[in-house]
Assembly symmetry: none
Homo-oligomer: 143 residues x 2
């Protein structure tokens, strides 16, 4: 079970230190994939297999599913942790998640999410805007 939120940086060689708390569960390697929302996911090998099997089983007759399958596997990468517990994040995934320097890494049960700090902040703000208490208040005072 992946839990907690951490901040890290990606270096000039496009490496990111996987938070130490997550390393034992990954066992030296992991699958890095494109996530829903503009972030990346890290799965254990086992959990990736489960997810991959579900996705591979989608009906190929559906064009939307074909596109999704292509996108999922085309943006999945097997990553081995180096001696310092870091993984390299490839260009296509960096671009998707708008990753430049500062990152937020957060445990989400069976996966780890990697966010660009900026994107995460925007996302959280958007979430706050959607929060009913906030919008109710806004409704009270807006003219």
């Amino acid at each position: 079970m992946f839990l907690g939120t951490y901040t890290n940086k990606i270096d000039d060689k496009n490496r990111m230190a996987v938070p130490a708390k997550f390393r034992d569960q990954l066992g030296g390697k992991c699958m890095l994939t494109k996530g829903f929302d503009e972030c990346l996911y890290i799965y254990t090998m086992e959990d990736f297999e489960v997810m991959a099997a579900k996705i591979a089983a989608l009906p190929q007759s559906d064009a939307d599913f074909r596109e999704f399958i292509r996108d999922f596997f085309g943006n999945s990468e097997l990553c081995e942790l180096d001696g310092q517990g870091r993984i390299k994040i490839p260009q296509n995934l960096r671009e998707y998640a708008h990753i430049t320097k500062d990152l937020v890494t957060t445990g989400a049960m069976n996966k780890v999410e990697i966010w660009s700090a900026e994107t995460k902040a925007d996302f959280d703000l958007a979430k706050k805007m959607k929060d009913s208490r906030f919008t109710d208040k806004l409704r009270e005072f807006s003219i």
Copy 2:
């Protein structure tokens, strides 16, 4: 069953002593999570796992569920009590609960609530403000 209210401090190393009365029930470790009302919750491992299992079963295809899962697990932490019966409160949770120095820890049946003393005081006053008897009194003074 967790009962009673205690005051404590968080130190410069972000450690808080769990009231001794609660320690036996926790058994050396506990789950620290984001609570309602800008406070934190401590659950026993067992109770947390029950909740976690329910939440983990929610479908990833729903954006609102993804947000909730991220928020819940990203703001949960497994805390082991040190030799002095203290836990470390991570930054994201300190920020959420506005924790700086003085704390109020209160047993609430199946969980323990951790409040910033200041936030708790504000919250208690807010409750009073909502009480019609209190606001009626204020009204006598044209407030």
